[in-house]
């Protein structure tokens, strides 16, 4: 059977599995729809959180980013894992004790204010939609690559499946589907990683292979890669090119942003007890770490393999995968010196994205309309192919390629479902039930939640098919906004009783507005601002600016709280209560 037939079978079987789970775990009440009734085992919740967290970007793009960024890619590795420490130590146990359904629930009650709740809902919706557009796109890319399907139809198929199990099963269906999706995606990630580690270093464990000698030599593989890159004029793989303050700020913004993302936080509302919330965060991070510690190995191996496969090789003799990916438009070769040999080096080979012309060039390559640049680099490569091309590079059988496709789809769908759920919950629970229509029955609320989920899927699908260029550039937005708005409000709500309604609302608004303005200023085409280090505030890029937004939020909240009425006694008692795992009053 060829790889494409196998891919159809694997992806089809995985869909059947997810839908089967959804039917088995249908939600019957709002509590089941919002937080799976609070009955999820900490290990199962850990797996679900890991699948929820690891998106198409983690699965497909991260190893590729590290392959091309080297040490600079560490910001993502540390940033997207370190946040779980903050979550487990500072937020999750107390929010579980609080015991409601959503993040705006907590902010609304702790700051005794509908305004605070609505501000939190706005932050949540902006953050979640920014994130979800990318997920739907990821599903489309995987479908188009592996199943030869137009991206739009891939997105529509993905929407259909998510629609089925998110709308029907709510949090309960999503949780158990995510457990299955975690198993699919981690298996799909590890199998090719183990093979490629064997191929490059002879060590089957990628994390150890990364520190081992390259196969057939006594030179460590990282040293060999450093030497090869420096030779070509790049910076060494293990050295960075970003400024220290920017690396620091981006890492911190991603960590804090991770801890403040509503679709992650809400997962810890689903376990039975406070102590389970702590343990569950540990399991979640352990499951995430399996992939995140493999990614740098895959990235380094793939980069070295790429250099060895293409540099100074004639196009005619280049491996089949080079031509395969060229066919899809993710690799492009412009033979600038007309020698028929591929030269690889720093800088873009030509102006802009590849713009393929009709027909083929002298050596059989796809012709390009792009104007060449002055440097010697002749090859354009999209970093996303590093994980997807791994099985072909390592010459693995067709079923591994099919498995990677199913894994990529699982990663994208699980994250999309988690995001859809928090969006629909925020609308049906926080906006309808708690703010504008408190008189609705549970049945109506559940129907509203399903309707909101369906509407959110349509919007997400539209964004996936027509990705606004601006949003695609600003994944930083989601993290920056979460870091600058939600995280400080929740943290201060638990640890500082003195912070009152006025302080929290002013702080959230200040953090949100500042961060949003800074990112739009540099990332949107509207103001003509130059996105470069000389222009940045304190040398911090828009990716890391959430840290300043967060600091501003804390400062404004403390200052305003000092000059306004103290927190009411009832709210102080509520804070005392959420700080204790057991209810002290009931016990006394």
């Amino acid at each position: 059977m060829d790889a494409q037939t196998l891919t159809f079978i694997f992806v089809g079987l995985s869909f059947a599995l997810y839908i089967g789970i959804a039917i088995w775990s249908r939600a019957g009440s709002t509590s089941e729809f919002y937080v799976a009734g609070g009955h999820v085992h900490p290990i199962a919740n850990g797996m679900a959180t890991a699948a929820d967290w690891m998106s198409a970007a983690s699965f497909i793009s991260m190893a590729g980013i590290i392959a091309f960024a080297g040490y600079d890619g560490s910001v993502y590795l540390m940033g997207w894992t370190g946040g779980y420490v903050l979550l487990a130590l500072l937020l999750a146990p107390y929010l579980r004790k609080f015991g409601q359904f959503t993040v705006p629930d907590f902010i609304g009650e702790r700051y005794y204010s509908k305004a605070a709740r609505v501000v939190a809902v706005i932050c949540l919706i902006v953050v979640s939609f920014t994130y979800i557009a990318g997920q739907m796109r990821g599903v489309g890319v995987v479908f188009s690559r592996f199943l030869d399907m137009p991206i739009q139809w891939g997105v529509v198929t993905g929407m259909g499946v998510v629609f089925f199990y998110a709308v029907l099963g709510g949090m309960k269906g999503i949780t158990y589907t995510q457990v299955a999706q975690y198993c699919v995606l981690i298996f799909a990630y590890l199998v090719p990683a183990i093979f490629i580690s064997m191929l490059m270093t002879g060590n089957p464990i990628p994390q150890l292979g990364l520190g081992a000698d390259a196969v057939g030599t006594s030179v460590p593989v990282l040293e060999k890669l450093d030497a090869a890159l420096v030779d070509l004029g790049f910076a060494a793989f293990t050295d960075g090119t970003k400024s220290k303050i920017d690396v620091f700020a981006i890492t911190l913004a991603l960590m804090v942003g991770t801890a403040g993302l509503p679709h992650v936080i809400v997962r810890f509302f689903t376990v039975p007890k406070v102590s389970d919330a702590r343990k569950s965060a540990g399991y979640a991070l352990a499951f995430i770490a399996i992939l995140y510690m493999t990614a740098p190995a895959v990235g380094a191996f793939a980069r070295l393999n790429f250099i060895e496969s293409v540099h100074e090789k004639s196009y005619a003799e280049a491996p089949g995968w080079v031509k395969g990916w060229e066919g899809i438009g993710l690799i492009a070769w412009l033979d600038k010196n007309g020698d028929g040999v591929i030269q690889y080096g720093p800088g873009a080979p030509f102006e802009g994205r590849p713009d393929y012309a009709e027909g083929v060039g002298a050596h059989g390559e796809r012709r390009l309309n792009n104007a060449p640049t002055a440097n010697e680099n002749e090859i354009h490569v999209d970093r996303d192919i590093m994980v997807l091309a791994n099985p072909e590079i390592a010459q693995l059988p067709g079923w591994v390629i099919a498995l990677v496709a199913a894994g990529g789809v699982a990663a994208a769908l699980s994250t999309a479902a988690g995001l859809l759920l928090v969006i629909s919950t925020a609308i049906s629970h926080d906006l309808l039930k708690r703010t504008f229509r408190p008189q609705i029955t549970e049945k109506t609320e559940l129907r509203a939640a399903r309707g909101a989920a369906a509407a959110a899927i349509l919007v997400a699908g539209y964004l996936g098919i027509n990705p606004p260029g601006f949003v695609a550039q600003v994944v930083a937005l989601a993290f920056g906004l979460a870091a600058a708005s939600l995280f400080p409000a929740i943290l201060m709500g638990i640890f500082f009783k003195r912070i009152n309604r006025e302080g929290a609302v002013a702080g959230m608004v200040a953090g949100l507005v500042f961060t949003l303005a800074y990112i739009i200023w540099f990332k949107s085409p509207w103001f003509g601002a130059v996105d470069s280090a000389e222009q940045w505030l304190f040398g911090i890029s828009p990716e890391g600016i959430g840290v300043i937004g967060m600091t501003l939020n804390f400062a404004v909240a403390v200052a305003v709280s000092c000059f306004t009425a103290p927190t009411p006694a009832g709210v102080r008692a509520m804070v005392d209560d959420i700080r204790m795992p057991s209810s002290v009053k009931a016990e006394a």
Binding site: T81, G82, V85, G282
Partner: protein
Amino acid sequence: MNKENPAKTGDRAAAYWRENVKLLCILLAIWFAVSFGAGVLFVEALNTIRIGGFKLGFWFAQQGSIITFVILIFVYAAHMSAIEKRLGVGDE
């Protein structure tokens, strides 16, 4: 332990919170040291040390910090359960 006396209960709550905050500070200091310390601020100095095929600073940035994060959470969970058991405020 006297569970009947409300004053004692308040004391236990205060003691529990103090111990919790102390533990948090220690673990977050380690969290900061392995990631921002070893992986970012002092990465060049640590890169002069080699462990196997790794430069140490680079290893912390891409492997060591992540392992430490996982351990920190489990250490926190275990310590908190022990504190809760001792003070009788747990949920287990």
